[in-house]
Assembly symmetry: C2
């Protein structure tokens, strides 16, 4: 059936972040045949960002020598609280002025392709579970450490979202009552202790207090434009300050994972996100050891704690999986 196979057989996954938009084009057997990245420019406001998403999708499809008519559906992961049923972004801390944005409707108007929305932690978890783990584990948790810390829970084989569809907000699980201030207004949240922002802030504070790091050589005394990759380079040069901060963050991530293990008894915990991608070699062993230390006896039997191989692409894979599922 040459006609039907050339028509609507492709899927697009989109990862909308506070910094960049990534769109990937997939065959229905989840092979990624092309992707395009663009900056989000969140300060330009929701309308402008939606235009940029649409353009990013068009560019990715064009890059693969395809047309939008050949795309069956688009799955998009957005940061923050997402109303999947109604296709709205309720609010997104890293996207200013995003409140009740009807993202699905507006994108469908621009692209004339069905669009499906999910929270970004959920969509990354869906991607890792379906593609990387081939849907095998019945109970699996994805934890993604980037600017903040997102997550998704596969419980009894399905993405779990709960009563308000907001489940898996692990970034705001309190790990240290009275600890450092978090963007959410509270103190001691997981992401205020171990997210990229928390790691950067600790290093900046230490430098202000007179501690030495090789990072100032390339980034200047204020450490502006620091990236996870800079930390990896500093570690390889034996930087003691960065080493201590990264070890501490890895321990907090291990404790956060142990809390999830004690609560949800997963078979697999997969770690991903920019911080893990950049610092996997330095962090994973500490995370795994700490998690087992804090997991109650019996809860971590045969538990696997592993880094995702999909890296930055977990979101677009998950988007494609969502689009495939919803257009079946």
């Amino acid at each position: 059936m040459p006609e039907s196979s050339s028509k609507q057989e492709y899927l697009v996954g989109v990862d909308l972040g506070g910094t960049k938009i990534l769109a990937g084009v997939f065959t229905s057997s989840m092979k990624c045949i092309g992707k395009v990245k663009t900056s989000t420019k969140p300060l330009r406001g929701p309308e402008a960002v939606i235009d940029r998403i649409a353009r990013c999708v068009e560019d990715a499809v064009d890059e693969c020598d395809l047309k939008l008519e050949q795309v069956r559906g688009i799955g998009l992961g957005a940061p923050g609280a997402v109303d999947s049923e109604n296709g709205k972004v309720i609010f997104a801390p890293n996207l200013p002025d995003w409140r009740d944005v009807p993202l699905k409707k507006q994108l469908e108007k621009e692209l004339k392709v069905p669009v499906f929305l999910e929270n970004d932690g959920n969509i990354c978890t869906l991607g890792v579970h379906s593609v990387e783990l081939e849907g095998k584990p019945k109970h699996m948790i994805g934890v993604f450490v980037g600017t903040g810390i997102g997550a998704g829970f596969i419980l009894d084989g399905k993405l779990y979202s709960g009563f308000n569809k907001t489940a898996a907000e692990v970034g705001h699980m309190v790990l240290e009552v009275g600890g450092p201030k978090c963007g959410c207004g509270n103190r001691g949240c997981f992401e205020a202790l171990a997210g990229r922002q928390a790691i950067f802030r600790k290093i900046q504070t230490a430098v202000k207090e007179g501690q030495k790091t090789v990072l100032t050589e390339s980034l200047g005394p204020d450490l502006t434009d620091m990236r996870s990759g800079d930390l990896r380079k500093a570690l390889r040069r034996g930087d003691k300050l960065v080493e201590r901060v990264i070890e501490e963050a890895a321990e907090y991530i291990g404790i956060g994972v142990a809390n999830l293990v004690n609560l949800l008894s997963p078979q697999v915990v997969v770690l991903g996100g920019g911080v893990i991608d950049a610092l996997e070699d330095e962090m994973m062993a500490i995370i795994v050891e700490t998690a087992h230390d804090y997991a109650l006896q019996g809860t971590d039997t045969d538990l696997e704690i592993v880094p995702s191989k999909l890296g930055d692409n977990a979101g677009i894979y998950g988007g494609a999986v969502l689009a495939r599922r919803e257009t079946k």
Copy 2:
């Protein structure tokens, strides 16, 4: 059918604790028609405790002028890690020498009635969900604050147990890295901050440091044999030390609840257990306020946080519900 209605129409729920055993006899419509309490005497070892459970069940059935032949099934909640499928107590921190105890098999041998086992937090949650909330909420969490802190999760309408069947070990969720030592060997666990033992220890330490409390009048300087009820009486007499410790514990419980709300987005959180039963008036308002403070925006919309009306009977109700479900 008079014969069939007189035969095997009753259910027994048993709550096995580190201090006491409670057995209740129920009609198939979950009306409690009698109950008997006995001490556990855990130091006598598993065999002796199992005999005591059997006798407690026999006494409860006899108290209702019934015979064991009229009991369709017995549901039992045990503290610790329980292998429901194989009817074993894997280990129970508050019951010395309980390791891989085939409780189901031994009780069935003694009583000649089918026995079904569950973790005590799960069974209390099942009781509250089925009987008190009439099975309505699809996503519900039960948190039981006693000597330790137990819990159970109803997710998507079903008791959730996870890969190792150990889910809902909320007592060992870390809330304060580096905090007070817990029985599990780690530091800063929820139950080391807000369980009855933690509350008692804080008061005892304060008294040793020279702080005043009316509790020493009746219990002596070492505060031996302190009970939750003593704290309630002290509060009613305006005891400042007890007030501060109880407020602090209620705040920790609120933060623990908020973590569960952020992670699982339940519709209802029900609080129970000896500490809540005794101090509901003093603690609930603080728990509810703190939980909403720490819940991320959007996660606590229409969320109810309420004390259980079943009190100490949640376990026997849950046991009867389990027995009914398993013998259907």
